[in-house]
């Protein structure tokens, strides 16, 4: 088990390095390279040459990569000349709000999705299971931006009970909870569909296991069989699913933040894409990529810890 964790961690380090390479390449396929990214599209060739010389950008690419990476590893993600702030400071301000959004939505999705999946598995092939499956399918296929719009139309325009915009960046999140409702709901509903579908099939597989037949034969009450024996085991694959779904959830967060003007990392990234603010774009992409790598590492390790049957 320890050797598995070590091997898996080493692999994660390699993948994280891969992420930095991809971001580096993205930065360098730009016409004009990083100099243009920083100085803007109208910078004249002399200034670009001077900039390149100053920051060692006239050296071979592998050396540049080394220099850039050592900066990144020291926590220096660059400076946004458009916003006149360091990317580190921008992230420190916006990242916690995104974590709050992603965390609350995922938690809500688990709270709704898991019981829903269990219920469907127990009522398998009945009418209500079928209706819920169709609903899950539709929600799963609905892009976050459309779902968000429908929610705004329903709860802010037709029935004005909730504010249509996310919380403002100047006050603490917890003091503006009503503004959180629609963004969290938008992001959560898509994930609920994913979780409930997965939980349903996992639960159905578990219900067919021999040890449940044994428990039934021993006279364990059906409610206790479901709650204590089946659900616990059926929950295990959900851990892996959380790791796998992470890129999708973060991607959904970007779109959700864009709909509701929610001042998080995704919103920051979106604005940066429109103003061609490349230091911010690279910084956020790096942070997102590395978080996903760490997240899936944690999911895999946690799975190995909670399920002693898994031997690698």
């Amino acid at each position: 088990m320890t050797s598995y964790i070590i091997r898996r961690s080493l692999q994660a380090v390699v993948v994280a390095m891969g992420v930095t390479v991809i971001v580096f390449i993205l930065l360098h396929v730009l016409p004009g390279g990083p100099a243009r990214a920083v100085l803007g599209p109208r910078a004249d060739p002399e200034r670009i040459a001077a900039f390149d010389a100053e920051f060692g950008l006239n050296k071979p690419l592998p050396i540049q990569f080394g220099v850039w990476l050592s900066q990144v590893l020291r926590g220096n993600l660059g400076y946004s000349y458009k916003l006149n702030q360091s990317v580190d400071a921008l992230l420190a301000e916006n990242l916690p709000r995104t974590i709050a959004l992603v965390g609350m939505s995922t938690l809500l999705a688990l709270i709704i999705g898991v019981p829903l999946g269990v219920y469907q598995a127990l009522r398998r092939s009945r009418a209500d299971d079928f209706v819920l499956s169709v609903l899950a399918f539709v929600f799963y296929s609905t892009p976050a931006f459309f779902l968000g719009l429908i929610l705004i139309l329903a709860f802010s325009v037709a029935l004005p009970i909730l504010p249509p915009s996310g919380p403002s960046g100047t006050q603490a999140l917890w003091s503006q909870l009503p503004n959180m409702v629609l963004p969290v709901l938008t992001l959560a509903l898509g994930i609920v569909a994913l979780f409930s579908r997965y939980m349903r099939s996992s639960m159905i597989d578990t219900l067919l296991c021999d040890y449940l037949t044994t428990a039934r034969a021993k006279g364990v009450r059906p409610s206790s069989i479901v709650a204590k024996h089946a659900v616990r085991n059926a929950l295990l694959p959900i851990i892996t699913l959380l790791g796998l779904a992470l890129p999708g959830i973060i991607g959904g967060a970007l779109i959700t933040e864009a709909i509701f003007n929610y001042p998080g990392m995704g919103y920051l990234f979106w604005q940066a894409a429109q103003t061609e603010d490349f230091p911010v774009l690279t910084g956020v992409t790096l942070v997102v990529g590395v978080s996903v790598v760490v997240g899936s590492l944690l999911a895999d390790v946690l799975y190995a810890v909670v399920d002693p049957r898994v031997r690698y």
């Binding site: 390699v14 891969g18 992420v19 016409p31 973060i250 991607g251 864009a258 429109q274 992409t285 790598v293």
Partner: protein, 259 residues
């Protein structure tokens, strides 16, 4: 359902003719009526006509990007799985690293550097969605590589490339086709998201995501007809392709089980 939508997008404009080039501001923001069954948008385009024109773009990009992503993914995955060893490890870590960055971030990043057009968007979306098919095809290749008929083909003097293209890939076709349908719906969503975020194709060309993005500005005036049709069209086409994918998967799995 897919066929119906294709007919709607390409045959529809022949039946229901609209002006999708010139704006008509005096007709802007009309609710649904006999003349405009789904109303008009903020510059006076008929929403129904726009839905057809936008659908063409959405489907073109969706199919094109899916085909491109599959091509890259199949090549990458089959080579990686067939060669194996260190090459396989390196190629798969590249796939892992690409998958770690959510597609929408990559898309926005690239789209911010270029001025999008239909072929370019097909290229970009294909370029960011190849890792999933690559991983699937690699797994498929791994399981097929040491079958007897593959060894036989090698013994008979077949080169590596011939073995991959004539013996391994045809047997992985089921996986490829099933993944292809999911790629189409993902690509349509990707295009719609990109356009919704304002980095899609510039007007007067349109697609469903751009229509939604446009309608958002008028949601608070209660102009629901500018938002719902395009959004529902996206949901319907995505559900349709996902259903086709699910159905095909069942078909192919049954065949495998019987074998």
């Amino acid at each position: 359902m897919v066929v119906a939508l294709v007919l709607f997008c390409w045959i529809g404009p022949l039946v229901y003719r609209t002006n999708q080039v010139a704006t008509a501001l005096q007709l802007a923001n009309r609710p649904p009526s006999v003349r405009f069954p789904l109303g008009t948008d903020n510059v006076g385009y008929s929403i129904l006509g726009r839905l057809m024109a936008g659908g063409q773009t959405s489907l073109e990009v969706g199919l094109g990007a899916a085909a491109f992503a599959l091509m890259l993914g199949v090549l990458w995955g089959s080579v990686s799985g067939y060669v194996g060893g260190l090459v396989d490890s390196v190629m798969m870590r590249i796939v892992d690293a690409t998958l770690a960055i959510p597609i929408i971030f990559l898309l926005l990043f690239i789209a911010s550097m270029v001025t999008p057009s239909v072929p370019l968007l097909i290229f970009i979306i294909g370029l960011v969605s190849w890792p999933t098919p690559a991983r699937l095809i690699r797994a498929e290749t791994l399981s097929l590589r040491h079958r007897e008929y593959v060894d036989a083909a090698r013994t008979a003097g077949g080169g590596h490339i011939r073995v991959i293209f004539r013996h391994i890939l045809p047997n992985a076709l089921g996986t490829i086709i099933v993944n292809g349908t999911f790629q189409v719906s993902d690509a349509i969503i990707a295009l719609a998201s990109l356009s919704f975020l304002g980095l899609g194709i510039p007007p007067p060309a349109t697609n469903w995501g751009e229509m939604l993005s446009n309608g958002v500005n008028y949601v608070f005036e209660g102009y629901w007809w500018q938002v719902l049709p395009a959004g529902l069209a996206i949901v319907v086409i995505v559900v349709a392709f996902n259903l086709v994918g699910d159905g095909l998967r069942d078909v192919f799995e049954v065949r495998l089980r019987r074998r």
